[in-house]
Symmetry: C2
Subunit: 221 residues, 2 copies
Amino acid sequence: MTGEFEIDGSGFLPLREVVYDALRKAILKEKLKPGERLMENTIALKLGVSRTPVREAIRMLADEGLVVLIPRRGAQVAQISRQELLDVLEIRESLDGLAVVLCCQRITPEQEELLDEAERAFRDSIGKSIAEIAEKDIVFHDAIYTASGNRKLVQILNNLREQMYRFRLEYLKQIRDFDEVADEHGKITAAIHAKDIQAAVSCIREHIEKQIETIGRTLPE
Amino acid sequence: MTGEFEIDGSGFLPLREVVYDALRKAILKEKLKPGERLMENTIALKLGVSRTPVREAIRMLADEGLVVLIPRRGAQVAQISRQELLDVLEIRESLDGLAVVLCCQRITPEQEELLDEAERAFRDSIGKSIAEIAEKDIVFHDAIYTASGNRKLVQILNNLREQMYRFRLEYLKQIRDFDEVADEHGKITAAIHAKDIQAAVSCIREHIEKQIETIGRTLPE
DNA sequence: GATCTGTATTTTGTATACAATTATTATATT
DNA sequence: AATATAATAATTGTATACAAAATACAGATC
C-alpha cells in the first residue's frame, strides 16, 4: 500500500447519484410538482449528462415512492394522497411499536448513550430552524430503530420516513409546542432505560397518533 | 368506446420484465446460487438481449432483496442469512398482526367471502403438491392483507414474503401436519368474521411464531 | 361540425460504442 | 521464493444511436 491519496473521497459520486440528489431535492422542495412529468431527455440536457444515469435515478426515486412509473409513458412526480399518508402512519405506529419492544430487549449500554445524546440534541434544537429540528427528530428515532437490532426493520422504517418527507416540514410547522414533543421523547427514552416494554409501546404509539391527528387537521381531503 | 379487444394481453412484455423473470426464477430455483456474480454482459449474451434491460432487471431484483449491488463491481445473488430471515419474520409477526386488526375493522362482506374461499382452497390443497399448497397459503394471507384496506401494508407484506420465497418450499417440506396449519387458518378466519380483534391477533401471531420455530430448527446457524 | 384516419413529432425502450475502473496475469526485483 | 510493479483483460459506468410506441395535430370523410 503506497500513498493512499483520497482522490475520490468526497469528490466522485456516480452520476446517477448526482442526478438522484438533484431530482429528489427538486421534488421535496416542490420545484417539481406532483403530477409533473419527468422527461429523460429534458432532464439529461438540463443537467448535462446522458439519459442513462437519468433513467437510473428516476427508478431509484420510484422505489422510494417519490415518482410513479407508467410503462411506455415515462415517470411523473408521485401524487401522495392523504390516504396514502395515513396508511404509512398506520404502519409506522405498528413498526415503531415493534422497534421499541425490541429496543427494550436488546439495547446495549453504548446505544443507550447514543439515545440519550439524541434526545438531548432534539431538545437543544428547539428554537432553531425547522430543518434542524427535523434532522434531530430523525436522529432520535433512528437511534431507537438501530437499537432494535433488526436491520430489515431499520430499512423499512427509513423508507417509510422518506415517503413522508415532503409533508414533514409542513407538518412540523403546524406544531405549536415542541417542548411537548421533547417530553414525549423523554418519556420514551426513560421507558427504554427502565426496560418497561408496556410503557415504551404506549408512549411511542401515542407519539405517532398525535402525528396522525395533526396530519388529519393539516391535510383536509 | 368501441369493441375493446384485449389485443396485447399476454403478448409484449418489456425485455426488462422478461430478463427479470428469467433471473428471478433462476435464483429461486437456486440455479444461480447465493454469492454468485451476475455479469451484465454474460447474462445479456445468454438471453440474447443487450446490457440495458439486464441492468434494469438486476436493479429490480436488488429492490426485492434477491441480489445485492456493489458499486463498480456489479451484482451478486443475495446471501440470505438465518438472521435476516428471522428479522423478516419478526416484522411479519407485527405487520400480520396489524393486518388482522384492520381487517376486523374494515373487511367487506365480499372480502369475507373471498377469505372463506381462500381458506377452503388451502384445506383442499392438502395432499397435493407442495407448490400448490404454497400458492394457496399465499392466497389466504393475501385475502387478509387486501381486506386490511391499507395498500402500502399489502405492498410491504408482499415484499417480505418475496424475501422468504427461496426458503419457503424448504420450510413447507418440514411441516408434518398441514391439517394443523389449516385449523389455524380456520381460527383466524372465524375470529375475523366475529370481529374478535384480540383472538385474531393472538391466532395470527401464534401462526407466525410457529414458522419462526420451524425455521429455527431447519436452518441451524 | 364531429369523428375518424393518417402523418409528424415526441418520448420511451433497446442496442451498441466508448471511457474509466477494477481484477488478473506476467514480469522484474529483492 | 516472495513481493511489488507493470501490462493486460474483464467489467461496470456513461454516452449515443436507433427502433418502437405513444401523442398531437391536420386533413379528410360523413
